[in-house]
């Protein structure tokens, strides 16, 4: 289907690709440029700042009223713990769905998929009351704690994640585990020592998707977290910018750049696994 290009063939192809490159990269350049521009306003910003300064970044660490650097740290901690726990629990569940034969296996997998379609954020009242009551029992898991928030996110360990992982486990031949079991390994040992190392790509994909999803969630976080010092970035950043683009643009841009960094870094590291994982059927969450 593809042929060597003529001069004009190459020209229009690169022309179109450059148009899309501008579309994809312009907002990113614009924000990076604004973050180094000390003017701190949208008005009259140029693509290349005339003066370069780190004032906006300094503001992230020094502003007491809007501790944006702290919010980024909170987001990273909450997302890291959530994703690690989700990957652990999901891989256990997916192993059972993939390797054991038991009553209700297919129904269970399907129901867990279906149930996850429910928009959990719209049941924020139920979630709030639940966490409030759990907090009476275990104050460490109550309202305005990161542990309570993480627990709420763990509800997503089943569903698409488990289905994605089960699909990957299914493609790993069982012969390796069988021989391990003949040598006396328990199913759990077979899972832990054989399946998990082989399934590293899908573990990475689920980790990445869960991390991005948790990092970006702001409705439940804004309901459950009440004090400014415990906000996640997704909650804090929109409260910070709230239509004040004219006079907070520079600091906001710096916060965007710094706040996007954890995801971009993770993305760069795990990108090679992403194509195979995504074609298995995930949607950015």
């Amino acid at each position: 289907m593809y042929r060597r290009h003529t001069f004009f063939g190459a020209l229009w192809r690169h022309g179109i690709l450059l148009v899309f490159l501008v579309f994809a990269l312009f907002p990113i350049f614009w924000v990076i440029s604004a973050s180094f521009n000390p003017a701190n306003t949208l008005v009259g910003q140029s693509l290349i700042p005339k003066v370069v300064s780190l004032d906006n970044y300094r503001e992230l660490f020094t502003n007491q009223q809007h501790p944006i650097a702290l919010w980024i740290k909170n987001s990273v901690i909450v997302s890291l713990i959530t994703s690690a726990l989700v990957v652990t629990m999901t891989s256990l569940a997916a192993y059972a769905f993939s390797r054991f034969r038991f009553k209700g296996r297919r129904t269970g997998l399907f129901i867990s998929l279906l149930v996850q379609v429910f928009p959990q954020m719209l049941a924020a009242v139920a979630v709030y009351l639940l966490i409030l009551n759990i907090g009476k029992l275990f104050p460490a898991l109550g309202i305005n704690t990161h542990a309570g928030l993480i627990m709420v996110y763990l509800g997503g360990a089943m569903g698409v994640n488990a289905w994605l992982m089960k699909g990957y486990f299914d493609t790993i031949p069982t012969s390796l585990e069988e021989s391990a079991m003949i040598d006396g390994a328990t199913p759990f040992q077979a899972f832990y020592m054989i399946i998990l190392p082989l399934a590293r790509p899908i573990l990475a994909v689920v980790f990445l998707l869960q991390f991005i999803g948790t990092y970006s969630e702001f409705i439940l976080a804004s309901v459950l977290i009440t004090s400014s010092s415990k906000y996640t970035l997704a909650v804090g950043l929109q409260l910070f910018i709230h239509d004040q683009y004219a006079n907070r643009w520079g600091v906001f841009a710096a916060a965007s750049v710094l706040g996007a960094l954890p995801i971009v870094i993770l993305f760069m590291f795990l990108q090679k696994y992403l194509v195979s994982g995504l074609t298995h059927g995930a949607v950015k969450g």
């Binding site: 049941a123 299914d170 683009y245």
Partner: protein, 519 residues
């Protein structure tokens, strides 16, 4: 295979050490459960108690019964799924059948208690002058003077007749007299105080200068379930969440109660709700379709260009074009809100400089929708590009070679080989992307918040609201009060629609089939 796993399970059951560990673990768990249960009973949290006991029962069954082995692996994930997804679903179903919302927040008991605490005063009731005293602990004592000169001591919710040199008054030595300004400051505290004087009458504060005899306005009859106005004799019976008189007069506040399917009926029959709801629904479907169509078209087009082995710099193009996908969507949406800003945004600056006009991006319904589609295209085309590239690379070159031998044109190859084979693997992802965008709350909420508003709507609805953002505002953000009942009903409709799509998507694409057929 199955039998090997069974043998494996047997060996687990055989090990003494694992048995002991299992027993110990279960014992510790059960102790924690019992301790928590006692605590919950003392706090009267019976719903959570029931959930806790059910969970503990399941854990014990799974670990004690032999067939439970596979379920041990499922337990952690299932536990959190039930607690934080299934329980909220059940709760939502219940709320959708109630009138829970502004005006009907409290339970019936709380509302009755409120009415029973309402007092009325006769216009010609006599005033009692008073002095209020307070001690170090904040306890209050009152000396009242009746118009006929009788002196009364009010202390710890009882009143007694006293004389000035009464020994009963000696305790007041530890108290200090409250000044007028203290009384003003403490008005709220003071007006909650009432001294019973029989016949449902109470001595209560009238103003900072005097107390007076008040009469209870309502009394609740538990046997007949009626609220009686003692002044007028009108009987109010509970009806649809309000105490209602025979002539239809309602007392406010109302209480929370089950009203059946009224919320669902309202969505389809109440014209002020149906109009905006239908509009929101239509835009939701348009939005999801537009999002999938635009991102897929651009993603596929770029994938075809980038899949070309004769193209130079394809790796560089690919890594750069993927970048929007690596930025968290909430940050991108907030950035674009700044770019689209009508007065100072860069997009309007460029339009101003080139074609000398600007666009009311977030104020005009049409342009707000365009802005949303542009933003979602930016967010979504890299994803489509990635999956299309993956799918294109899995199509073998033999197909095209055979087609070339048969004399097929490039377009024919694309139309009859690329598209059908691509669709096999990509179609389920497009459906999933449709249901994702159907519920794509953050993009709508962060860019337009559903605005501009539809004028004259009874519920808060905007031109760019999709069902999920409409419901969110219904439940949490309306300036005219919230309506959890109606919001829960819409939530269930959303769940039904996306659930159905998911069901057919997985059913017909065979996604649930086992990939490895020899398992």
């Amino acid at each position: 295979m199955d039998s090997d796993f069974k043998n494996g399970c047997d060996s687990v059951r055989g090990s003494i050490l694992s048995k002991v560990l299992k027993g110990l673990g279960l014992a510790v768990l059960n102790v924690i459960v019992i301790w928590s249960a006692l605590f919950l009973i003392s706090h009267q949290s019976y719903v959570i108690l029931a959930l806790l006991l059910l969970g503990a029962l399941i854990v014990n069954i799974v670990f004690i019964l032999p067939g439970g082995y596979p379920f041990r692996y499922l337990l952690p994930a299932t536990f959190f799924m039930f607690l934080l997804v299934v329980y909220p679903i059940v709760y939502t179903v219940y709320i959708s059948l109630t009138n829970y919302g502004t005006g009907n927040i409290l339970s019936k008991e709380q509302v009755i208690a409120q009415f029973e605490e309402k007092f009325v005063i006769d216009r010609d009731a006599e005033s009692y002058a008073f002095e209020a005293y307070i001690n170090d602990q904040g306890e209050l004592a009152f000396l009242f003077t009746r118009p006929d000169g009788e002196l009364l001591l009010g202390h710890k919710s009882t009143i007694d007749s006293v004389s000035l040199d009464d020994p009963k008054l000696e305790f007041l030595d530890d108290y200090i007299l409250l000044e007028k300004r203290d009384l003003v400051r403490m008005t709220n505290e003071l007006s909650a105080i009432g001294f019973d004087c029989g016949d449902g009458k109470q001595l209560r504060m009238r103003n900072v200068n005097s107390f007076a005899i008040y009469e209870r306005q309502y009394v609740y009859e538990p046997n007949t379930d009626e609220l009686v106005d003692l002044q007028t004799g009108i009987v109010y019976k509970p009806s649809n969440g309000y105490f209602q008189a025979a002539d239809g007069t309602r007392l406010t506040p109302g209480f929370r109660t089950v009203i059946g399917l009224s919320n669902f009926r309202k969505l389809f029959t109440n014209r002020q709700i149906t109009g905006p709801f239908a509009r929101v629904f239509l835009w939701t479907v348009q939005w999801a379709l537009l999002s999938v169509a635009t991102t897929f078209a651009v993603g596929l087009f770029l994938a075809i260009l980038l899949n070309d082995p004769y193209l130079r710099f394809r790796k560089a193009y690919r890594s750069l074009l993927i970048l929007p996908y690596a930025i968290p969507a909430f940050i991108s949406a907030l950035i674009w809100r700044g770019l689209f800003n009508t007065e100072v945004g860069v997009i309007n600056q460029i339009l101003q400089a080139t074609i000398n006009s600007s666009v009311p991006w977030l104020q005009d319904p049409f342009w707000a929708k365009i802005a949303l589609v542009i933003l979602n295209l930016w967010l979504g085309f890299p994803y489509m590009m990635i999956i299309c590239l993956g799918a294109l690379q899995s199509i073998g070159s033999e197909m095209y070679e055979a087609a070339v031998v048969d004399g097929a044109s490039s377009w024919q190859q694309f139309r009859y080989i690329t598209i059908p084979l691509l669709m096999v693997s990509v179609a389920p992802l497009l459906v999933a992307s449709f249901s994702f965008n159907f519920n794509n709350f953050s993009v709508i909420y962060l860019l337009t918040r559903g605005r501009p508003p539809i004028p004259g709507a009874q519920t808060p609805a905007g031109y760019t609201d999709i069902l999920i953002s409409y419901t969110y505002r219904l439940a949490f953000e309306s300036g005219r009060g919230v309506d959890y009942g109606l919001a829960s009903a819409v939530t269930l409709i959303i769940f039904l629609i996306t659930g159905t799509i998911t069901f057919f998507n997985f059913r017909f694409t065979g996604a649930l089939e086992d990939v490895n057929k020899n398992v």
